[in-house]
């Protein structure tokens, strides 16, 4: 007993000793912290600036109170952005496009991943590499043919209204296509961790491939869904190039294009523009506050394997 105690004592001493070894110069420590705080301020300041000027009048922004908190909190800027600036419409468009593209990407990737990782067949490896090509292909590569195709579909009396240029589908389908590779990569990572015994047990119980997929695999893939969903949401919510090229009318604009249009019209009235920027940003930041770890993981998962 006593022996154990001395041993523990010894190890504590050892810990302490190691600690002194590790101890860095306090001056260095202060410099490190000062640097980290300085960089944090550089990251936070533009967001703070955006939020405060979204609540100010032009006199405050241009006058004495450039970077302070607003004297009068002008929430009217937000209603101006929402209503006269049409941000309400753009916001709903963004939600619709993002949710639809994310759902399509999730369904297509789960089904494909199941066939690629849990059914044995000869070409599965090759097919997987084929899908992984999408990780390196820039979206610019497809933009010209897609634009021409969409313009041609627009002329078709039957499909033009639903699938041509200036439709939701013209964004939803390309977005889903361009998140697909990453979605497959992320869901393979999760799906190979599900024990294969489960499949066999289900097979013995009389489940076919489809039964196993829907009853066993899909319910176990819930954590993957949020990772894929977050990744896809961030891609679609912020996407600007396709949205700018494929949408030219004001009815189908998503937030990024809407903001560009709004700031073009209201060059002199900064408050509502700031409000519009906040409206586009805060949903993401709120999600980030609650799911910061998960969001960071989805970025890491995508990059390290890709």
């Amino acid at each position: 007993m006593a022996d154990l105690k001395t041993k523990r004592k010894a190890s504590e001493d050892f810990e302490e000793e190691r600690y002194t070894l590790k101890k860095t110069n306090p001056v260095v420590k202060v410099i490190v912290y000062a640097f980290l705080v300085f960089w944090a301020l550089i990251n936070l300041f533009p967001i703070y600036f955006m939020f405060t000027f979204s609540l100010k009048s032009n006199e405050e922004i241009f006058g004495k109170n450039v970077i302070g908190l607003p004297h009068d909190w002008l929430w009217d800027n937000y209603s101006a952005a929402m209503n006269t600036g049409d941000m309400k419409l753009y916001f709903l468009n963004s939600v619709l496009v993002t949710v639809s593209a994310t759902l399509i990407a999730i369904i297509a990737s789960l089904m494909a991943t199941y066939a690629l990782t849990r059914i044995k067949w000869k070409m599965s490896g090759m097919t997987n590499s084929f899908f992984m090509l999408g990780l390196t292909i820039p979206i610019q590569a497809a933009i010209v043919p897609l634009y021409v195709l969409l313009s041609n579909i627009s002329k078709n009396p039957v499909f033009g209204k639903a699938f041509g240029i200036n439709t939701y589908a013209s964004l939803i389908i390309p977005y889903a296509g361009f998140t697909l590779s990453m979605a497959i990569l992320i869901s393979s990572g999760f799906m190979v961790k599900i024990p294969y015994d489960l499949d066999e047990a289900a097979r013995i119980d009389g489940c076919g491939l489809w039964g196993t997929f829907f009853k066993i695999i899909v319910p176990l893939m819930k954590p993957a869904l949020s990772t894929i969903g977050i990744y896809s949401y961030l891609q679609c919510w912020n996407e600007f190039m396709f949205a700018n090229v494929f949408i030219s009318d004001s009815v189908h604009r998503t937030l990024p294009v809407g903001i560009k249009a709004l700031s073009g019209q209201h060059t002199t009235n900064w408050g509502p523009i700031g409000a519009a920027l906040c409206i586009a940003t805060f949903p993401t930041l709120i999600v980030y506050i609650f799911l910061s770890k998960r969001i960071q993981e989805s970025f890491i998962a995508g990059a390290i394997k890709g």
Binding site: I119, F131, T136, I139, V144, V257, T284
Partner: protein, 304 residues
């Protein structure tokens, strides 16, 4: 015998059903992937060899578009390429070292590292359009923060129309680009730093290594593969730059800040040269793959 036959038949049928199932499981993904990525790229390659306005059938002109891209100054492709390479240079030699430094510091188990990590990563999540608009407000010649600050410091002579003057406009695009994605690379590298086993770190410390020496001789060699990924992403990302240029300078003044992607869009909407637009897309794919291979090779050589 007959029994054997039916067994075989049912086995065959099972195989067939398996094949059909595999196909059906893959079908949605294949349809999406081929129609949105693969087919358009094939079409881009085909059209890049044509003089085409998007509506006529188009005439085959071989590699003339590619030749024109590099020789015809009015297309500005060389300017665009130079600009995106400047962005790539600063990303690799300013942004990445900063990201690495932050990742190494946060990897030292210091207090509040989670908080700092989350704050540093935040700009990555914000739309580049929002970031662009925000920085336009900061650069604004009359009311922007920079010029106001210069006024306040009695340095009015240093004021500029930041986004409208040749020489400053590209810098005005460069700063937000670098600022926004420091956090992204930091996160990747931090994940690598966290992956370094604490035993290794402690062993080095016991041998009397300082924090800096541990980082230099233990951590950095281990996370080299991640640094490679970051360099590839930074360079290919710079080649693809579009959003911030479109928002902040729109390619101006006098087209000095154009990048390949904005030129590509101009070919469609301003010049009706869809063939040349396709050529620019194909060049972008080639450049991205070429740089990825080159960087990969450079890292391999260093390892040997």
């Amino acid at each position: 015998m007959a029994e054997n036959n039916t067994l075989k038949k049912s086995k065959n049928r099972k195989e067939l059903w398996k094949g059909i199932s595999i196909f059906l499981f893959l079908l949605p993904a294949l349809l999406l992937f081929v129609s949105v990525l693969i087919a358009p790229i094939a079409v881009s390659v085909y059209r890049s060899l044509q003089d085409w306005n998007g509506f006529s059938p188009g005439t085959f002109i071989g590699f003339s578009n590619y030749k024109e891209l590099f020789t015809n100054g009015s297309i500005k492709f060389m300017v665009g390429l130079k600009n995106s390479l400047i962005v790539a240079f600063f990303s690799v030699f300013v942004q990445l070292p900063l990201s690495l430094l932050l990742a190494l510091l946060l990897g030292r188990k210091i207090k509040g590292s989670r908080f700092f990590l989350s704050v540093f990563f935040m700009p990555v999540l914000i739309s580049t359009v929002v970031i662009g608009q925000l920085w336009l407000k900061i650069y604004n010649p009359d009311y922007g923060l920079i010029n106001r600050a210069l006024d306040a410091l009695n340095l009015s002579a240093w004021k500029h129309v930041w986004v409208g003057e040749v020489g400053y406009a590209l810098v005005a695009v460069l700063i937000p680009t670098i600022w926004q994605f420091v956090g992204y690379h930091m996160l990747l590298m931090y994940a690598g730093v966290k992956g370094v086993s604490p035993d290794l770190r402690e062993a080095a410390m016991l041998d009397g290594a300082t924090n800096w020496q541990v980082d230099k001789y233990v951590v950095i060699p281990i996370i080299k593969p991640i640094i490679k990924v970051s360099v590839i992403f930074a360079v290919t990302g710079s080649l693809k730059t579009y959003d911030l240029v479109r928002i902040i300078t729109n390619g101006g003044p006098f087209q000095t800040t154009e990048v390949p992607s904005t030129l590509l869009e101009n070919m469609l909407f301003l010049r009706n040269r869809y063939g040349m637009g396709s050529t620019i897309s194909v060049m972008l794919i080639i450049l991205c793959f070429a740089f990825a291979l080159l960087i990969g090779a450079a890292f391999k050589e260093k390892e040997d």
